[in-house]
Subunit: 151 residues, 2 copies
């Protein structure tokens, strides 16, 4: 169980800076925030432990890598277990991100697969079969990321 996070403005500044460049060193962060490397490192450990920072990652240009990036907005039938659906989705190859949602869709699923429409089609069919109670699926191909600034 993760406790309620107590986030102060310095924590938020650290996360903002890392969201712009996750490779900033403790030294660079310390200089930017007028504190010490030790304090930065202790705060980052705390934020990771609390789950406030879930991951440090890259934003790749999937197109240049030869991959398609597809977003599936899934609407489940009433009464269907979302956690069962997530369990099934985790087993499907090329499913990279799974997000619980509320609104038009119950689930947002990101698929990264080699640029081959037949392969994408096969993955979507596999998901339709594997996940029980899919009422509707919106398929959107992401072709370009024009802006990426989390804060």
């Amino acid at each position: 169980m993760k406790g309620r996070a107590k986030i102060d403005p310095i924590d938020l500044r650290i996360i903002e800076l890392l969201s712009k460049n996750a490779r900033m060193t403790y030294k660079e962060l310390a200089e930017a925030l007028g504190t010490t490397r030790q304090r930065i490192s202790r705060r980052m450990e705390k934020l990771e432990r609390m789950g406030v920072i879930q991951k440090y990652t890259v934003v790749p240009n999937f197109d240049l890598l030869g991959y398609s990036y597809v977003l599936l907005g899934i609407t489940l039938k009433a009464g269907v277990s979302i956690d069962e659906a997530i369990g099934k989705l985790k087993e499907v190859k090329h499913v990279t991100i799974i997000q619980k949602a509320l609104g038009t869709h119950n689930l947002v699923v990101h698929v990264v697969a080699p640029k081959d429409m037949k392969e994408i089609q096969a993955i979507i069919e596999e998901i339709s079969k594997a996940v029980p109670g899919v009422e509707h699926m919106d398929v959107t191909f992401i072709t370009e990321t024009c802006k990426y600034e989390l804060f």
Copy 2:
């Protein structure tokens, strides 16, 4: 103009490792791939220059930070300029990610804003007004990221 990327398997391994942990040092990457820090650093610079690596960032738990994360799937009317729409969207506060798309939606817009339904509503209204030719907008609140493994 970005040239066509020539990505070899070592480049791909570097991107995969960084997608799992963008804070890996040159030394750690070099050890994992059996090469030198200088070669890793040179390859990463090349990948950044080519735009294959667009950014190093964090995956925050927005909920714990007190923010809502909303995905807007926008469908534009036929003949509407997507680039004009993107230009307008870039000016809207709290719009964090803008992606060009093909399929159910023409644009995927990510909004990160303080947890306050009235504020979210105001942002959605602002987008509806600012972006010319919106035919339809699907609103999906992301409540939890259950999996995040880009490759």
